[in-house]
Symmetry: C2
Subunit: 284 residues, 2 copies
């Protein structure tokens, strides 16, 4: 299957991410349908011409029109939806997702899925500190990293199809990782950083801080405005890897604290030289 413009794409879950996919694909000329239990999101998206049609329930007729399906639901809801509604897919449908955890859901879903339908998981590293279809923005994909996480069950064709979805969205670097590698990496670069930002933000209840702070505190807490329902689910579904990463961080942070306590200026300088060198990788 290729991304050709007579494909019908179904988005399941029309929030910030689902809405951003819808906008991007609509602009590229695809027929875009959506299912979201929030009636208002559907009617907004139809009125704004973000989708061609949509329903607030898993309408068998709409589902059966889809050639490609993009799931932008929370992980548990995604698994549930497949279990209950996969019967309505037509033969040969290609499915992908945007879910932020992989190994805890990908195998389950592939195992229960019909033989004539393929699920190739992916994760665009894009987002905003906002939620809902009204905040959808197809510019979030530009130059974003994009990760495809196939299992042994996936075909080469599906992997190629999923990469080409990234390409037509205009993402930057496209990588292929196993679900386990993905979760290991995401536990560090995304989940740990959100845990840090939340913890930093809950350290102080001094409202005046906003009058004193520079950019550093703002930068470190930008992501502390967080969707608690989604992130608590993501944290718990990647619990073991996340806790491992939290321990690595606590260890580094405690080393730095000891150096400060012991007036170990040489040690501090070494640490900071290392952090400066490593941070440069991200500014290439």
């Amino acid at each position: 299957m290729k991304w050709i413009s007579d494909n019908n794409v179904l988005i399941v879950g029309l929030g910030l991410m689902g809405g951003s996919y819808a906008k991007a694909l609509k602009r590229l000329g695809y027929k875009v349908y959506a299912i979201d239990r929030n009636e208002e999101s559907i009617s907004y998206a139809i009125n704004e011409n973000i989708i061609d049609d949509g329903k607030s329930f898993p309408d068998p007729e709409l589902i059966s029109k889809a050639d490609a399906v993009i799931f932008a639901l929370y992980p548990e809801a995604f698994r549930e939806w497949i279990r209950e509604n996969q019967q309505y897919f037509h033969e040969g449908v290609m499915i992908t997702d945007v879910t932020g955890v992989k190994s805890s859901i990908v195998y389950d879903i592939q195992d229960m899925l019909r033989e004539d339908v393929e699920f190739i998981p992916s994760h665009p590293m894009a987002g905003r500190e906002l939620s809902g279809v009204k905040s959808a923005d197809d510019k979030i994909f530009r130059n974003a990293n994009y990760i495809v996480t196939p299992t042994k069950k996936n075909t080469k064709e599906a992997i190629e199809w999923c990469k080409s979805l990234g390409r037509i969205l205009g993402v930057g670097k496209i990588s292929v990782l196993s679900p386990e590698e993905h979760d290991e990496m995401i536990g560090f670069v995304s989940q740990l950083t959100h845990c840090i930002a939340v913890s930093l933000m809950t350290c102080s209840d001094d409202e005046n801080l906003a009058d004193y702070t520079g950019d550093s505190f703002r930068d470190l807490t930008r992501i502390a405005r967080i969707n608690e329902n989604m992130w608590s689910e993501l944290f718990l579904m990647n619990k073991d890897k996340l806790i491992e990463k939290m321990d690595v961080f606590i260890n580094e942070f405690s080393q730095l604290k000891d150096m400060i306590k012991n007036d170990n200026r040489a040690g501090l300088c070494e640490k900071m030289k290392l952090s400066t060198k490593r941070r440069a990788w991200f500014d290439k």
Copy 2:
């Protein structure tokens, strides 16, 4: 003393911050002189018309011309410079600084300072992850928070003078804090955040991370590109308060970790709701 355009301003330490003051004040029509031990910085600044004149040593003649002096040195170098060169100031000179720690140097300097010269400390919450006069940029002051930290020795006139310096630079909110309040606050919003960023950056030596990460990791580590000599000095000079803040953070972070470990979804949601609410103070 007022900020009138026939004032001669001397900048001591012509790096990123000193250079940014120089650019701003020159643009406003002041005569700007500078002293920096780096000959190249001085000649660059003269050639680029950032300063009117400058020397690479504490030239008594140049120092005696100054009506106002802005110190943009590292804290220990600042104290040393005053000890060795204050004899050259003319009577009534007004001095301020940009130093990121206050109680560990402000009292020392005021105690050793000549009676006919006043030092009113301040701290503009502005900067860049770059150093040197070539990176100087007077736009860094725009809407930045600016803090004046007087002691009992300071006159009302000096406090007003120092606030008006902030105003002509175009800063945003101007606050007045005691040196101790400043250090308490800065230990949290600035030093703790730099310790977190450095520790996060030194957790992993995987160069490929840059291919997978989204904005969150980039945001949390932007300040991990750090001037190790300056920051190790700042950390150690505010050691007690910084360690206190580091412990508060470790405590919050460990609480979050325990919630994840114990599948305490309700607790996680509470924490994230709190962080979302508090972060909103910074987006007004």
